[in-house]
Symmetry: C2
């Protein structure tokens, strides 16, 4: 049985190694939206007899790593003697914005180091781990069966370590029965304040937000990152699918241009425009923009992760072409009914029941009566 | 932040009183489907210094109550001296199938008794609690802000303590985008084995399962309780909405009659039939069966709780008339698309976005990649 439980780490509480890794993953998740393009990482420190003595997570890009924050949380450093470190990702072994964590670990006599995922970054080798082992620390890689939680925090980082196309997250807020808005276009915010705050964390965690032309025309959205503390906000790009440049006359007075410099607005078109950046596209055999080619083009422009925020036609196209990695569906406690409601899969055309799209590794976060349901294509 | 956590009570673990009540509610939930018409109840025992020393739940109708199971789980009864009992519902004070729990509590010197909800049953008075207090036990009623979890396990019991109409649970298994099946009627089980097992617990926890005529004709369902151990299975009634008795010629050869005696099949009709029981109905001003009147009629027949299992037309009618208490939506990790999919709210007619139905106190249980989303009308 699995039920919702609040995160409430209590110092001196006994933890199993698995529950410590679960806690580390929950801590890692608190970095989502703040640490990118770094991976979100969480770290838990247990005493030799498995009592919680400290914990921490990577809180902001360029700032201290999870391991350092966990160590810093322990005021009596004597407690670290023979302690056990449980961390979601292999400690880094290179000088970046901060010194390598593996070197820092050398300052303490940990009895054990467990990490869930090996770092795929080729900058890292395992010499650092061998050095740690040589000092008597037992080093172990173990996921404890927590693959779903691991995927939820690390999928983007791991995908981009090996892929040359953008990581695509489809995001939508819907009623429980799957509607984005009224078919007439009428819409109000469905999601609650906590969900909207998290949406801005998601925007901040992706290199760009993408919308179709209709969303721009109907909603006049800003699509910038708000709510977060200003020093945490990353430069935010916007991608607008508008092959015929129909939005150009309206862009100048739009909320989009009030909240973004024109340098950060990319229009998907093969036409030329002097005022905005453009992204070229190709048509597929069905006469639609080939979104998998588009992902490569975006990647080449340095846009490595994209949050697709709608509308229904655009979301359906990414689904239809299976050109996405992750779905993040804020499910809100409302029912709109099929007669009034506009489904977020309104343009998804599947011919037979057996051809339905299967998602994997669903993960939930509850924001009061809203839930964030995440799942993956692979 | 709230995230999914597995239930893993560890003896000797320290608990806050709130986390102990949360655990008690998780334990109570394990009785759903097995204890009805009793309420599901969970009980946690902490030492004076808040270490977990025992726990239990009401496991089966007619068997020991949660408090007794919790006490029995403590092998060294000396640990109970000055222990704290945290229980989801006020301990019972009357002789039923088992002796009153309040009397049993007198055998131990608990330092504290905390219960989340007062028992609304008029058989119970608070003299028992006063007697316990007189022995030096601090008695306190406290929900710890866990109203959602409380509602999830006790809503039916509390509703039936004061209402003269049936408690209605709408149950459906859908794709993530809200579809029950293909519009053509083609359907396969969407939900996984754990979800289906829980569905049978839900059937067992309600007095009857209700379906519309079309579901009977298309699916030829059995609608009995399977999977559970046979000694746990309650007598299971079926209600079939078929005002014109169109199903009568087919019933005899149906799976429904293979798995139920005709005494347990109730047809909603104002016509007469010799072979089955009938439930009368009234029409409302929109020319539809008045489902709130039907709830009263069912209650008078002794059918106090009903699990409505479809199809789309029937579910939509209960929604339209707001004639339900609880929705239990198994959300499965599939996408079917609006063009092929049959929405479970296909016949729900809402005229404006602002008139959408608002649900309350959403609660989640995760069954691998399926989730059970529960929420309430009030």
């Amino acid at each position: 049985m699995a039920v919702l439980e609040e995160l409430a780490p209590l110092l001196n509480q006994k933890y199993t190694l698995k529950s410590a890794m679960k806690l580390a993953l929950q801590l890692a998740e608190q970095g989502v939206g703040y640490v990118e393009p770094n991976p979100p990482v969480g770290c838990v420190l247990l005493s030799k007899d498995n009592a919680l003595i400290g914990y921490g997570h990577h809180q902001q890009y360029g700032k201290a790593h999870a391991e350092v924050n966990a160590i810093d949380s322990v005021s009596d450093k004597k407690l670290l003697e023979q302690a056990q470190m449980i961390v979601t990702l292999e400690p880094c072994g290179h000088f970046g914005k901060t010194p390598p964590c593996k070197q820092i670990l050398h300052q303490y006599n940990f009895s054990r180091l467990i990490y869930a995922v090996s770092d795929p970054n080729p900058l890292f080798d395992d010499q650092g781990l061998k050095d740690i082992e040589a000092r008597g620390t037992v080093v172990e890689q173990n996921t404890f069966g927590l693959e779903t939680d691991i995927k939820n925090v690390l999928d983007k980082y791991l995908f981009l370590a090996k892929s040359k196309k953008s990581y695509i997250t489809l995001k939508m807020a819907t009623t429980l029965d799957g509607y984005l808005a009224a078919k007439s276009g009428e819409s109000k915010w469905l999601s609650n304040e906590k969900s909207r705050f998290y949406t801005h964390r998601l925007r901040n965690g992706h290199d760009a937000v993408l919308v179709g032309k209709n969303t721009f025309l109907i909603d006049n959205p800003s699509l910038n990152v708000r709510y977060l503390e200003s020093e945490l906000i990353r430069e935010n790009k916007v991608i607008l699918i508008d092959t015929q440049l129909e939005t150009i006359p309206l862009l100048e007075q739009s909320n989009l241009l009030k909240s973004h410099s024109s340098e950060n607005i990319f229009i998907v078109t093969n036409k030329k425009t002097a005022d905005y950046k453009t992204v070229n596209y190709e048509m597929n055999k069905h006469g639609q923009i080939d979104l998998n080619v588009l992902r490569q083009n975006l990647f080449e422009l340095g846009i490595k992760s994209v949050l697709v925020e709608g509308g229904a036609h655009t979301l359906s196209q990414f689904l239809q072409q299976q050109a996405f990695n992750c779905i993040k569906n804020f499910i809100t406690p409302y029912l709109l009914g099929d007669q009034l409601g506009l489904s977020w899969t309104s343009d998804l055309s599947i011919s037979e029941f057996k051809d339905k799209i299967s998602l994997k590794k669903s993960h939930l976060i509850k924001f009061d009566d809203d839930i964030l349901y995440s799942a993956f294509l692979e």
